[in-house]
C-alpha cells in the first residue's frame, strides 16, 4: 500500500509542476484535494516560485568560439549511429573499400553493370530517386542498416580514386543524376533495366 501511495504522490507533484497558471488558488485546491501530501506540495510550490526564470534571463550571446568547442565535445560523445555524431560523417563507404573482384561479384549478384554500381558508389545518384527496394537489397549485401547506407550515399558526389582524366581543367564531381538517368546511361541491358524499373515504388 505504501508503494501505491508513493507513486500517486509523484503523479500529484508532476501534475502540479505542469500547471500553466500557478497561483494561491491552484495551490489551495491541491492542498484541499491531497491533504496527505501537503508538505511536499508546499515545498514544491516554493521551489517553483524561487526558481529563476531562465527563459527571461537568456540572451543570445556571441561566444561563437566557445559554443563551437562545446558542440565538438558534445558531438564526440554521441554514438556513431546517431546521425548528428561526428562518426556518422565519416562512415567509410564499403563500396569504395572493395577490391575489383569483390566489386565485380557484387555487381553480378545484383544483376547490374559495374558502371551502374560505381556511380552509386561515387554518390553520383540522387538517393531520394533510388527505389527503396534496391537500397534495401544493397544494404543487405553490404550488411548495413538501410539508414546508414542512405546517409553514406547522401554525401556529395565523389571522384573515384584512381580515375584518370585527359581534360586540361581540374576534374570535379558533377551534379547528381536521377535513378532514371542512371538506368539509361549505365550500359544496362533491357532486361536489367526492366528488373530495376520494377523495383520503383
Amino acid at each position: 500500500m505504501k508503494f501505491k501511495s508513493e507513486a500517486s504522490k509523484e503523479a500529484v507533484l508532476h501534475a502540479f509542476s505542469k500547471e500553466n497558471n500557478r497561483n494561491a488558488e491552484t495551490l489551495a485546491s491541491y492542498l484541499k484535494r491531497y491533504p496527505e501530501y501537503n508538505e511536499s506540495i508546499i515545498d514544491l510550490s516554493i521551489e517553483l516560485l524561487t526558481a529563476p526564470s531562465f527563459d527571461k534571463l537568456s540572451t543570445e550571446s556571441q561566444s561563437d568560439e566557445k559554443s563551437k568547442k562545446a558542440w565538438l565535445t558534445f558531438q564526440s560523445m554521441l554514438s556513431p549511429d546517431d546521425p548528428a555524431s561526428a562518426m556518422s560523417q565519416n562512415i567509410a563507404n564499403p563500396l569504395s573499400e572493395m577490391n575489383t573482384l569483390q566489386f565485380k561479384e557484387l555487381a553480378n549478384d545484383l544483376n547490374v553493370t559495374r558502371l551502374f554500381l560505381s556511380r552509386i558508389r561515387d554518390n553520383a545518384v540522387q538517393v531520394s530517386t533510388i527505389p527503396a527496394q534496391f537500397i534495401k537489397l544493397l544494404a543487405q549485401h553490404l550488411k548495413l542498416p538501410i539508414e546508414t547506407l542512405q546517409e553514406i550515399l547522401t554525401a556529395p558526389p565523389e571522384i573515384a580514386a584512381g580515375q584518370r582524366f585527359k581534360a586540361s581543367g581540374k576534374p570535379s564531381a558533377g551534379q547528381k543524376v536521377t535513378f532514371d538517368e542512371l538506368l539509361a546511361t549505365s550500359g544496362l541491358s533491357e532486361s536489367q533495366q526492366v528488373m530495376l524499373k520494377a523495383m520503383k515504388d
Binding site: 501505491k4 507513486a7 500517486s8 509523484e10 503523479a11 508532476h14 509542476s17 505542469k18 500553466n20 500557478r22 497561483n23 494561491a24 495551490l27 489551495a28 492542498l31 484541499k32 501537503n38 508546499i42 515545498d43 510550490s45 516554493i46 521551489e47 517553483l48 516560485l49 524561487t50 526558481a51 529563476p52 526564470s53 531562465f54 527563459d55 527571461k56 534571463l57 537568456s58 540572451t59 543570445e60 550571446s61 561566444s63 566557445k66 559554443s67 563551437k68 562545446a70 558542440w71 565535445t73 558534445f74 558531438q75 560523445m77 554521441l78 554514438s79 546517431d82 546521425p83 548528428a84 555524431s85 561526428a86 556518422s88 560523417q89 539508414e147 546517409e151
Partner: protein
C-alpha cells in the same frame, strides 16, 4: 509525430507536458527540417527552453549534424547567458567555472539521453526552469563555495520554543507584511527578484514555508472556514505564522542590504 514522454504513472497514464508546450510542438511538427531549424534558432521570437531540449535530447528525430548544430548553439548560448545572470553575488568569484561545470554536466546528460534513448530527462520538457534550478543546486552543492560562509546557515531562531506565546509589536508585523508586498516594480526587477529568491532559499524551513506561501498570495488567516490559509496549510496558529514572517523579514532584510538593496 510528437514523441510522447515515456514516463507513466503507476496506473499507466503517460506523463504530459504543459499544454502550451504541446501546442508549440504540434505546430513545429508540420515544418520541414530547414524551416524547423530556422524557427528554433530565431533570436527575435525565442522558443521556450522545453522545446529546445525536446529537439536536442531525442535522437529519434534524426537531425543530422547540419540541423542539430545550430539548435545546439542556440540552446548553449541561451542557457549559458541565463546561468551567468542567475548566479547570486555570493558566487561571483567563481561564476565562470561554475557555469562551465553545470554546462559540461548538462551536455553529458543530454548526450547520454540521445545514445540510450532513455527518458531520464523527461521533466526538463515539463518544467525546464525547475529542472535546471535543481540541477544547478546539485552542482553547486558539489563544487560551490563552502556554505559555511553563508551568513544564514548557522542561524538558530531564538524564540522557537515559545513562538506561540510571543506577541510582536504590531509595527514589526506590519513592516514584515509590507516587505513581502513590495512595490510590483521592484519584483519586476529581475536582479532584485533573483537576490530575494536566493535569500529565501537560505531561510530555515519553517520561515521559508511561511514566506513562500505568503508570496504566492495565500492569506495568513480568514474568517471563512472554506478558505485555505497559511495557518491551515502549515497546521499552526496565525500567531505562529506572523512570528515566522517577522523573523524571516529580519533575516532577508539583512541579507538584501548586504547585496546593496538599502531601501528595503
Amino acid at each position: 509525430m510528437i514523441i510522447p514522454l515515456k514516463k507513466c504513472t503507476k496506473k499507466g497514464d503517460p506523463y504530459q507536458r504543459r499544454t502550451e508546450i504541446e501546442d508549440i510542438l504540434s505546430e513545429l511538427d508540420t515544418l520541414a527540417y530547414d524551416q524547423l531549424v530556422a524557427r528554433l534558432t530565431c533570436p527575435n521570437t525565442p522558443v521556450p527552453f522545453e522545446i529546445l531540449i525536446y529537439y536536442l535530447r531525442h535522437s529519434e528525430i534524426r537531425f543530422s549534424q547540419q540541423h542539430l548544430q545550430p539548435v545546439f548553439t542556440t540552446f548553449y548560448n541561451r542557457v549559458e547567458s541565463a546561468l551567468y545572470r542567475a548566479l547570486a553575488p555570493a558566487h561571483f568569484a567563481h561564476t565562470a567555472s561554475i557555469c562551465d561545470e553545470i554546462m559540461d554536466k548538462l551536455f553529458e546528460m543530454i548526450a547520454h539521453e540521445r545514445n540510450s534513448q532513455s527518458d531520464n530527462m523527461y521533466y526538463w520538457e515539463v518544467n525546464f526552469n525547475h529542472a535546471l534550478s535543481n540541477f544547478r543546486t546539485d552542482v553547486l552543492k558539489i563544487i560551490g563555495p563552502a556554505r559555511k560562509t553563508d551568513p544564514l546557515i548557522n542561524y538558530h531562531p531564538l524564540m522557537r520554543e515559545d513562538e506561540e506565546g510571543t506577541v510582536l509589536h504590531p509595527e514589526v508585523e506590519a513592516a514584515a507584511e509590507r516587505f513581502f508586498n513590495p512595490n510590483p516594480s521592484l519584483l519586476d526587477d529581475e536582479s532584485f527578484r533573483l537576490c530575494l529568491m536566493e535569500a529565501i532559499n537560505t531561510l530555515p524551513e519553517d520561515e521559508k514555508r511561511v514566506v513562500g506561501l505568503f508570496l504566492q498570495g495565500m492569506q495568513i488567516e480568514s474568517l471563512n472556514p472554506e478558505v485555505m490559509t497559511i495557518a491551515k496549510a502549515l497546521a499552526c496558529t496565525d500567531r505562529t505564522v506572523r512570528n515566522r514572517l517577522s523573523r524571516a523579514h529580519e533575516l532577508l532584510r539583512t541579507q538584501l542590504q548586504k547585496e546593496g538593496y538599502d531601501e528595503i
